[in-house]
């Protein structure tokens, strides 16, 4: 029998017995508010993803303009070396639990500035830990949505009190 979601269990019985980890993960994955970090052209696709046609809000994903209210940082665009220190500082200002989505080739690896770019950081993962990489130059909103769904899957495997499930 396929495992029911919390919502389905509640709808069936009006009563749920569940592990606390699962309840916390369900709440966290249900509303990963993102810190809008538009640095270059990827920001346009990120904005497009939260507009009505793609409607990120149906996944509970909602843009916040301050790191203190955000759970996910979507690094959308070219991270220059000058900006990298600011990225790190803003990441440190986010409250736990916090996640990072690296969006687009520039944030993943330096992208077109891979070979000749004295001013571009070769991947944002050199300064902050990245959970999901979204490839593309820039990625379509569908790709970003898949990245967010992958992040939600990742959140469901976490354990707040015990060992991680995959350990």
């Amino acid at each position: 029998m396929a495992e029911l979601t919390l919502r389905e269990k509640f709808d069936r019985d009006n009563f749920v017995v569940e592990k606390l980890d699962n309840l916390i993960n369900w709440a966290r994955a249900g509303s990963p508010w993102y810190f809008q970090f538009g640095l270059a052209c990827c920001a346009i696709e990120m904005i497009g993803a939260s507009m009505p046609r793609h409607d990120l809000e149906r996944f509970g994903v909602f843009p916040r303009a301050t790191p203190r209210q955000a759970d996910v940082m979507i690094v959308a665009g070219t991270v220059t070396i000058k900006m990298a220190e600011r990225v790190k500082r803003l990441y440190e200002q986010m409250s736990d639990p916090k996640y990072v989505i690296s969006m687009g080739s520039c944030a993943n690896s330096g992208g077109p500035y891979w070979q000749h770019g004295y001013h571009v950081l070769k991947g944002v993962d050199l300064v902050v830990p990245v959970d999901v990489y979204v490839p593309g130059c820039p990625p379509r909103p569908e790709a970003l949505i898949q990245g967010i769904l992958e992040l939600q899957k990742h959140i469901h495997t976490e354990s707040t009190f015990g060992r991680p499930k995959n350990a």
């Binding site: 070396i81 220190e85 004295y118 070769k122």
Partner: protein, 157 residues
């Protein structure tokens, strides 16, 4: 093509101005006179500085190209300055306010020093950056504030 009388009136400003017919560019040999020359050029009606371009000539010399435009007569001029890398160029910020940021960019990217500029500092790069990256002999540093900037990326591929 530039008007013949305009060319003559600009050449009469100083002996160090020569005019190249083919490229329609005014070349200036003595950089020290640039502020006096540009003051007179502005009096001729060239009230708009469109762009300042810096060039590394790779023989120890640097070059600056100034594009001027007259909003009255719609005529456009180009002045070309060639000077050694350690020379100072007079700032024209007092004539055209546009020159403020253009000269700071030329200093940031090419290391050209401008004398008489009110706020001579880097415009794009961080203030503690070493070197001027658009010079041909620039070498990328391995680290900046502890962040690795790899030059050899074969091990990454």
């Amino acid at each position: 093509m530039l008007d013949k009388s305009l060319i003559d009136s600009i050449k009469s400003i100083s002996d160090s101005i020569s005019f190249d017919e083919e490229s329609q560019i005014f070349n200036i040999e003595k950089v020290d006179e640039w502020l006096e020359i540009s003051t007179k050029v502005k009096e001729l009606g060239f009230d708009y500085l469109m762009c300042i371009t810096s060039i590394d000539l790779e023989d120890g010399n640097l070059s600056l190209a100034y594009n001027l435009n007259s909003t009255g007569s719609q005529a456009s001029l180009e002045f070309n300055l060639i000077f050694s890398a350690d020379a100072e160029v007079p700032s024209v910020e007092s004539l055209w306010k546009t020159a403020d940021w253009h000269e700071r960019e030329a200093y940031d990217m090419m290391g050209i020093k401008f004398s008489g500029h009110p706020d001579m500092k880097r415009i794009l790069l961080p203030h503690d950056w070493e070197g001027h990256p658009l010079k041909k002999d620039y070498e990328v540093a391995d680290y900046y504030h502890g962040m690795y900037v790899p030059k050899d990326k074969t091990s990454w591929e």
